[in-house]
Symmetry: C2
Subunit: 322 residues, 2 copies
């Protein structure tokens, strides 16, 4: 599956980075998912080959402007481009209140239904087309959620030894059992696909966090996770200088958490615009990276807008060709 | 004075054009004015050398998303960049309702005061630093305004013959009278600057319209105008094919109006995204231009995002080097 950030900057856009937005697209699918939607997300999407008609769900972590001000425009554009199929929107109730207020005060009419799901109710998993989704409440001053995406529809092979032992004759039934269907054989026996499927691998699991200054809030979601995407707004030194973390995490803190939880891949994002490319400047991306590397031995990457990241079937994070 | 569009596309952004926004900057000033603020306006501003700290006023024509969805984010960024001086916001009351709803539902705090002025009250001129501003109600289905900007602070020379005839002795008083001040001479006579000023030229006047399908609504504002900036969303042929103008103007209609009113410069914008650069395509920018040129003999330009246009002191519209 493929991840691309439409934005990786905290608070305000910079010349290199837009405000928050992340696209997630399973292999062999034109459907995709959007996590957060800061202003200008739809502009960044024009630089990718993702169609607003194929957007399955939008998940908003919290109602701060840099995570949701692009939502009304994106929905308006989807409608004007001819979308008529329903869209699932997941987020805190406050996101729905914001969107409703904008629609009412600006006469925004959408030609497709929005199905809103309050993230606070997602302690049980929600089954979408390619993923089951679970949410966890984070620590950020206002209601904010992290989301775990667990892959569905893993390719299965058949347990042919068992089929033969049970005397199920080779034929079209085998194909249906491989797909997980329940079938009846010539003797009227009920056969359940799940008894004969061999999963080729375990489902991949990724966790996308919202803004959060208490990493431990993600302990549950991170069980068995292949990848954690988390904000690293500051370095420890800057938090110390500011005298506050403003509800945000440092690169050091989230790296230490991912190390302790044994998450094999860590993708950092949501960097304060003070961090630039110049390695000699007082605040540089290199500093953020150093802080994380000092505390984390897994595979680490710092998000760049529009750069494709692939989480392979083997659970490896790959920085792909653009 | 200098005009640059942050966007010239109708409804949705395209790869070449953002949604509506126009910057206006007087000569010899770092202050500037913004007319309309679609999503992504602040992103386009990063490609110009205009500081949010020097923004004098924002004028919104109407509350449709492609003209105002960038406003909350732009204000948030101005505040985060340290702006503390008041900002004037002019628009229909509905714009204030929209902005208030967004601020309340997303906890948007601004560290500077906003002075809102209801455009419906601007039948009398409003005096700002560099311009006096007048509004006119347009025709677009919802409340929508056009704005006339008349230049203030024209350089004046002194009517020295009159000063000598009135027996005002050469000295510091002359300098104060040249600035338009009211002074008292040694005999206690009151002398008014306006009696002794010779205006070097008449003030420039430009009219920036909102969306509007009845050009005649601008007749009053266009009296003595050097430049009209107006939408030309469609060609006549497309309006005929759609069976409606959707409250918008064709290139033909606004060109004919500008010709009849004798406006010497016409700058068209807000083009439907169906019009592309390819001259051979069914709908091209060349077609829009042809329609306008057939009916207008003045100086015509079709807006391009970020291209600087200069309205010279002589009232000429110049396409400047970027």
């Amino acid at each position: 599956m493929r991840l691309r950030f439409t934005g990786s900057c905290a608070g305000v856009p910079s010349r290199q980075r837009n405000v928050s937005g992340l696209t997630l697209q399973p292999e062999h699918s034109r459907r995709w998912y959007l996590i957060d939607c800061g202003e200008g997300t739809q502009h960044q999407l024009m630089r990718m080959s993702l169609s607003l008609a194929r957007l399955e769900a939008v998940l908003i972590t919290h109602v701060h402007g840099d995570h949701c001000y692009g939502l009304p425009g994106l929905l308006a554009s989807a409608s004007m481009a001819g979308r008529r199929t329903p869209l699932t929107l997941i987020g805190p109730q406050a996101v729905w209140t914001f969107l409703t207020a904008v629609r009412e005060t600006t006469g925004l009419h959408l030609d497709f239904p929005l199905h809103f799901i309050d993230a606070a109710t997602l302690t049980e998993s929600l089954v979408l087309t390619e993923f089951t989704i679970t949410a966890a409440a984070l620590s950020h001053g206002i209601e904010c959620h992290g989301y775990a995406f667990e892959e569905r529809g893993i390719e299965a092979s058949l347990d042919t030894a068992r089929l033969e032992a049970d005397g199920v004759p080779r034929g079209p039934l085998w194909g249906r059992l491989q797909k997980g269907e329940t079938v009846y054989d010539a003797q009227g026996r009920q056969l359940k696909g799940e008894h004969y499927q061999l999963m080729a691998r375990r489902p991949r699991r990724l966790v996308v966090s919202g803004d959060n200054n208490v990493p431990a809030r993600l302990t549950g979601l991170c069980q068995g996770a292949d990848l954690l995407v988390h904000e690293a707004t500051y370095t420890e030194e800057v938090i110390e200088r500011l005298g506050t973390d403003n509800g945000h995490c440092s690169a050091a803190r989230i790296a230490a958490f991912a190390e302790a939880e044994g998450v094999p891949n860590l993708l950092l994002t949501h960097f304060s615009p003070r961090y630039g490319r110049d390695r000699r400047a007082q605040n540089s991306m290199a500093e953020l990276e150093r802080e994380a590397r000092d505390r984390y031995t897994g595979c680490l990457a710092l998000a760049e807008d529009l750069q494709p990241y692939v989480l392979s079937r083997e659970g490896e994070l790959i920085i792909a060709a653009a």
